[in-house]
């Protein structure tokens, strides 16, 4: 029987790409290295793009879409659980009427758990984690950034045979507009009335927001992106296991896993099989919903399943399915803006003149950003001539004057410079900014956040000096794969 995942019929853009070769990724293969990605909001019309592997269509439609109606055998989570055991943490998703999926619990350096906007999260804790001297244990949760603190009682005063408080599960609904992370901590009160509450980032749950994209891997070996894959939003993966069955020569795969790697990091392995947790439940196929980290610039996926005594891979012939990740929504994390407002380097940069669209990062700098590259640090030298050469390689020509007027048919890059600190010598280039289609500028500020600002002069000051040269080329057409 087919597990068919249909392509939403209302999507206007048909897939016209080629059908990829049905070759499995070999078990020993490493994840393919990441590629420079040319997709960011300054070129906002460039929708999520499948970089390798299979053809893709992209359409700006809501992800909580009819795609789900057309996928009766693929199920999304109806709730999540965060379980604090005595010696570790376990994360799972519940699928009402079907069963449960154990989810990866993270590396311990960030969120261990998963949650989804508008869906319940249940927190369970082993009483053995808490001293018998406690009189009260409460769960404290807060959406970060932006949320307020909420408290759910977990103890009712009764105790077990060891004298420890009996703990009840704490269930609450994640706010429907939530994004970011859910901060979870336990507030304890001891017999003397002393209250203790410590937050540990590995207690967090990553929240998949309602906004995001669904990537469908269909039975006919096509790949489709509905919505826009962007940092901070959710990424839903609808995978038709008949693909692996075909690769395995007709053998039905088991233990099917989606491997998801952001920025070439070790993959998150998400089971795609729902395991019945009560007799009579049918199980089924799981459609995971993951939060795309703010730091992500690209994501690669591949799939694995067991068939008989072998392992089958669906990995675009070992290249993996790769997608670029767009920048985050404006001020998705207020700390980006606050960081720059604290800086003394930019006296002109006031709160009303810019928004933060990406986190601090050593992954790329301003010059890389102007080149559409968010994976490298680029620095050709400090002389203006060094930048003339760099941008000439990209088809840019320098203008005779610092002409910052807006022409939607042209792409403009402006570089900044100042006199050397020694007081003599040629101008030293300090920064580059890119003008977008609407005449606004985007700048990656050193190792600090990526911002969009109103004018080039917003960054004039003691650190960057002032705009010294403008480069121009015809605006590149939006990337289209259809």
């Amino acid at each position: 029987m087919s597990n068919r995942i249909g392509r939403p019929s209302f999507v206007p853009t048909p897939s016209t790409g080629v059908t990829p070769e049905r070759a499995a990724r070999s078990p020993g293969e490493k994840t393919s290295s990441t590629r420079a990605v040319d997709q960011f909001d300054a070129r906002a019309t460039r929708a999520a793009t499948l970089l390798t592997g299979a053809s893709a269509t992209a359409a700006a439609v809501p992800i909580r879409s009819k795609a789900l109606d057309l996928q009766p055998q693929v199920h999304e989570a109806t709730g999540y659980e965060a379980r604090f055991e005595q010696n570790g943490r376990k994360a799972s998703a519940a699928i009402a009427g079907h069963g449960r999926v154990q989810l990866p619990a993270g590396s311990g350096r960030g969120p261990s758990f998963h949650a989804e906007a508008g869906k319940p999260l249940t927190v369970n804790a082993d009483p053995a984690r808490f001293s018998s001297t406690y009189e009260k244990v409460e769960l404290v949760w807060r959406v970060y950034p932006g949320g307020t603190e909420n408290v759910v009682p977990m103890s009712d005063g009764t105790r077990d045979a060891n004298g420890r408080l009996n703990l009840q599960p704490a269930t609450f609904e994640v706010p429907p507009d939530a994004s970011g992370v859910m901060r979870l901590s336990f507030r304890t009160t001891d017999k003397s009335g002393r209250v203790s509450n410590q937050w540990d980032p590995s207690n967090d749950a990553a929240i998949a927001s309602r906004e995001g994209a669904t990537v469908s891997f269909t039975e006919d070996f096509q790949t489709q992106v509905d919505g826009k894959v962007r940092a901070g939003d959710s990424l839903r993966i609808a995978y038709d296991q008949d693909r692996l069955k075909a690769i395995a020569g007709g053998k039905t795969p088991s233990e099917v896993v989606a491997c998801v790697s952001f920025n070439g990091e070790p993959p998150i392995e998400v089971p795609l099989d729902i395991r019945p947790d009560q007799p009579g439940q049918p199980g089924g196929m799981f459609m995971p919903s993951l939060r795309v980290p703010f730091e992500a610039t690209d994501v690669a996926m591949w799939f694995r399943g067991k068939a008989d005594d072998g392992t089958s891979w669906d990995s675009a012939s070992g290249q993996n399915f790769k997608f670029s990740v767009g920048v985050a929504r404006d001020d998705a994390d207020p700390s980006w803006k606050n960081e720059l407002l604290r800086s003394k380097s930019f006296p002109n940069l006031t709160a009303d003149k810019f928004v933060g669209v990406g986190p601090s990062s050593e992954r790329y700098n301003c010059i890389a950003w102007t080149l559409g590259n968010r994976n490298e640090w680029v620095w050709p030298g400090t002389r203006v001539e060094d930048f003339d050469t760099l941008y000439a390689q990209q088809g840019y020509k320098p203008l005779d004057s610092v002409d910052l007027s807006h022409d939607p048919t042209l792409e403009k890059v402006v570089i900044y410079g100042r006199k050397p600190m020694t007081g003599s010598g040629p101008l030293e280039v300090t920064h580059g900014a890119l003008m977008d289609e609407q005449g606004r500028f985007t700048s990656k500020i050193g190792t600090q956040p990526l911002i969009r600002h109103q004018s080039a002069d917003d960054l004039t000051g003691p650190s960057y000096g002032a705009p010294v040269r403008v480069y121009v080329r015809p605006r590149q057409p939006p990337v289209s794969v259809s």
């Binding site: 290295s33 990441t34 350096r109 920025n263 070439g264 800086s343 380097s345 930019f346 601090s360 050593e362 992954r363 700098n365 301003c366 010059i367 994976n375 490298e376 640090w377 680029v378 620095w379 400090t382 030293e428 280039v429 300090t430 920064h431 580059g432 990656k444 500020i445 050193g446 190792t447 600090q448 650190s463 960057y464």
Partner: protein, 106 residues
Amino acid sequence: MSDVAMRFEALAARWEQHCADHREASNPYVFLEHPSFDALVALGRGAVPLIIERYRHGSVFWGAALRRITGITTFGEGVVGNLDETRRHWLKWWDAHQGTYTAQGA
């Protein structure tokens, strides 16, 4: 804590503060051109294990210090390019060569 380790910790803190003070800079040599970075490099091979530990989760520009101490050019200067990838290369290198450095001690 050994003498090298104590000196390293003090210098590393100074250098990281220098980088933080210039975090708006795009020119990577702004980070490197500081007496504390030169002093870190001058610590020599004994500093390599300490740098590796900082490098794992700290600044990607630690690769530039490794490059200068070890003389290994395979992974570039450590200031431009895909610096995450450069870090992965150095950490893999360390897995293969750490015996050479720890056996000699600081």
